[in-house]
């Protein structure tokens, strides 16, 4: 608590952990390339350096606010140095901005522009290194790396994986996996958080937009889209609409106009997942076997568990993820000439997630030897495709999804936020569907931004211990607690990305705290305005069980093994 003077203005501060936060809260967007409030302070870019009244310079990210401090964020001296730092970074950086996947979203590009850097006086003498395209989800371009280490800290501190590290030192320093292995050779789970943290184009989403355009252009292909819940709250702000506001209707409209033949809601398949997973849970509970049940919606988490805790594979729900269920059902729906009239069905899944690109290649996401989902594009890619189409998104009249898979309950919609799967399952277990019941389920403990949430509920007189975690470092803590016998749970929901899919590796990056909350609130609002809030009350689901799914529930909705 106290006051400091920033650029001659008296500013109050409360519990900000560093001077940088005080400055930013005071409305000055001091640039940084290596600061993220959720990982440890690195202090390497030095751009947030400020000057005090004695002419002393220090990095504001690591300085504790003190009452009576007098600082200048933009003194002539500091401005000059800051510009020189960015110039130096540019001098050791691939500057093919126009063809860079990150163009327009790159922090470095942004800073160069802000600081009016029009020439770079130094030659780039760094050796040109090959790209790593081995991962199904991500591309690493070492030539664009500025060594801020954000990805290293995200991978080790948030995700507890430590696939990426610094190697060598000085000007030879690089970020890479051990022994410069390709990502595919490491324990990378494709979560994409490194890409979210990367300020430049050094780590980017492996894009599949061209495949989609090609399919759309082919008259003999029926292009079907499924849109995941978290996507709808992360698109609007790219087109000047409110942050976090659900734009599902506009998305459906734009996809139709872009040439998609049918557009569906993955929330529908999430309802299917709830049906299957709650059934599976009750069976396991009855048998007292293979508990806790681990959710299986998140492919990065599934890979993490299979790699790091293979002894717990049997605890994973055998349910396919909503994406997997949807595509399998979709392909089945059009199987046979009678149904497809000779048209090929091409399922495009629009996801907030990079790991989904990896999931569709797993053998257990194939049905009858065929890959169920043809292509995954991330939210970031769909935004680019919309821009590419030239269609004015903001003014589009919303449209509804197609039938017969075009509706998901509110329970399916909240899958996109941590705790959503659990809440949806608890709704399924609830006897009633009135507002009071729904509100009490909402307050059970599944909601909230905490990394690990634990609570108990009672189901038919049986107390159930539930754990909801997001972020793989937290998942590791949960697993170690289970392994050591310190904790006993019945249900464990894990999402690899902190806060769930809304902050997935395929979402538009540079999302600050306001964006994070807005996306979360946006999904809960979308749930609120849906009349049907329980998966088991979705009429489309019920008719599906009576029709297409008859005798095929296991084949289409479950995996045989992990």
């Amino acid at each position: 608590m106290g006051f400091m003077t920033i650029d001659g203005r008296k500013v109050e501060f409360t519990d900000e952990k560093n001077v940088l936060s005080v400055i930013r809260n005071a409305g000055i967007n001091l640039p940084t390339l290596c600061y993220h409030s959720e990982v440890s302070t690195f202090g390497a870019c030095r751009l947030c350096t400020v000057e005090d009244d004695r002419g002393r310079t220090f990095a504001s990210c690591s300085e504790v606010p003190r009452d009576g401090m007098v600082i200048y964020t933009n003194s002539g001296k500091i401005k000059k140095y800051r510009k020189l730092i960015v110039e130096l970074l540019l001098s050791a950086h691939c500057r093919d901005c126009t063809t860079c996947v990150k163009s327009g979203e790159c922090v470095l590009q942004d800073l160069a522009h802000r600081m009016n850097i029009t020439t770079v006086r130094f030659q780039n003498t760094r050796e040109i290194r090959p790209l790593d395209t081995s991962s199904p989800a991500l591309v690493r371009d070492p030539n664009k790396c500025i060594l801020c280490g954000d990805c290293v800290r995200a991978c080790s501190e948030i995700q507890g994986l430590g696939v990426l590290g610094f190697a060598f030192r000085g000007t030879d320093a690089m970020v890479m996996p051990a022994f410069n292995k390709t990502l595919a050779e490491t324990g990378c789970v494709s979560c994409g958080q490194c890409r979210v943290y990367c300020p430049t184009g050094a780590i980017s989403v492996k894009t599949h937009m061209d495949e989609v355009w090609e399919a759309i252009a082919d008259p003999d292909t029926r292009v079907v889209a499924q849109v995941a819940p978290a996507v709808r709250v992360a698109v609007g702000d790219a087109f000047g609409l409110d942050k976090g506001h659900s734009v599902m209707g506009k998305l459906v409209a734009v996809l139709h106009r872009m040439g998609f033949d049918e557009v569906y809601d993955t929330a529908f398949a999430a309802d299917l997942t709830i049906m299957e997973e709650s059934k599976e849970f009750l069976e396991r509970l009855g048998q007292g076997d293979k508990l806790p049940l681990f959710t299986s919606c998140c492919p990065a988490w599934v890979k993490f568990l299979c790699d790091q805790y293979p002894e717990y594979k049997d605890n994973l729900s055998t349910c396919r993820s909503p994406q997997g269920m949807f595509s399998a059902v979709m392909k089945e729906y059009y199987r046979g000439y009678e149904k497809n009239q000779g048209k090929k069905t091409f399922v495009v899944s629009i996801m907030p997630c990079t790991a989904k690109k990896m999931e569709i290649l797993r053998p257990n996401n194939f049905t009858k030897g065929e890959q169920d989902t043809d292509v995954v594009i991330t939210t970031t890619e769909v935004i680019r495709m919309i821009r590419n189409s030239g269609i004015e998104f903001a003014t589009l009249v919303p449209e509804a999804c197609d039938m017969p898979f075009g509706f998901g309950s509110g329970a399916g919609v909240i899958f996109g936020v941590t705790g959503g799967v659990t809440e949806a399952m608890l709704r399924r277990f609830a006897d009633k569907h009135d507002k009071a019941t729904m509100d009490s389920v909402a307050e059970a403990g599944a909601r909230g931004d905490e990394g690990i949430k634990e609570f108990s509920v009672t189901y038919q007189g049986i107390p159930l211990n539930v754990c909801v975690a997001s972020g793989l470092a937290n998942a590791r803590t949960v697993m170690e607690n289970i392994k050591s016998g310190k904790k006993h749970y019945h249900i464990v929901e894990i999402m690899a990305c902190r806060r769930g899919c809304i902050m997935g590796g395929g979402q538009p990056p540079r999302a600050g705290n306001r964006t994070k909350s807005a996306r979360r609130d946006g999904l809960y609002q979308a749930d609120n305005v849906t009349s049907i809030r329980k998966a088991d009350e979705n009429p489309l689901i019920l008719s599906l069980y009576d029709g297409l799914l008859k005798g095929k529930v296991h084949e289409l909705l479950h995996v045989d093994s992990y």
Binding site: L164, G165, F166, F168, P177, A178, F179
Partner: protein
């Protein structure tokens, strides 16, 4: 593939220092001391045994000059290029050695695995500059000629 004996030796060293992250550097130093280089497979093994990620172990190993994933020669010659030695012309000594042994700034070890030539910042024997060491034995007041004589002598020991 490394011989099993390497892993046994590594186990012995790991047990001595304990299975903890802070043992990483001393363990690597002892392995390097044993084999004159740090076999990559052993680094991976050590990382797993002491509970650090492979990327972390690699990042530490590549940070410090003393670790080398390449096998080093029988005689490791370090030419001091500290201030005092530099002022007293240590670079011509380095160049003479490199020329004689067919080495360069990028190639440090001779193909017959007899010699490795490196530079070192300061050996702490500035009064005797320029100096070099052969397997930690200091040779004072060197000249390019004396360095070449030394090579001949060392080669002679290996006929």
């Amino acid at each position: 593939m490394l011989d099993q004996s390497y892993y046994e030796k590594a186990d012995e060293i790991i047990d001595y220092y304990g299975r903890k992250a802070s043992s990483l550097i001393p363990i690597m130093q002892d392995i390097q001391g044993e084999y004159r280089y740090l076999p990559g497979e052993l680094l991976t093994y050590v990382a797993k045994e002491i509970g650090v990620t492979e990327a972390k172990a690699y990042s530490v190993a590549t940070f410090y000059e003393n670790f080398s994933f390449e096998p080093k020669g029988k005689y490791i010659i370090k030419v001091c290029d500290g201030t005092a030695c530099h002022v007293r012309k240590s670079i011509p000594i380095l160049e003479a050695l490199q020329k004689e042994l067919g080495l360069s700034r990028k190639k440090h070890t001779t193909d017959d695995m007899l010699f490795t030539v490196e530079t070192v910042s300061c050996l702490g024997a500035c009064g005797l500059a320029p100096t070099l060491t052969v397997n930690n034995e200091v040779h004072p007041s060197m000249t390019p000629e004396k360095a070449l004589e030394l090579i001949t002598e060392l080669r002679g020991d290996n006929v």
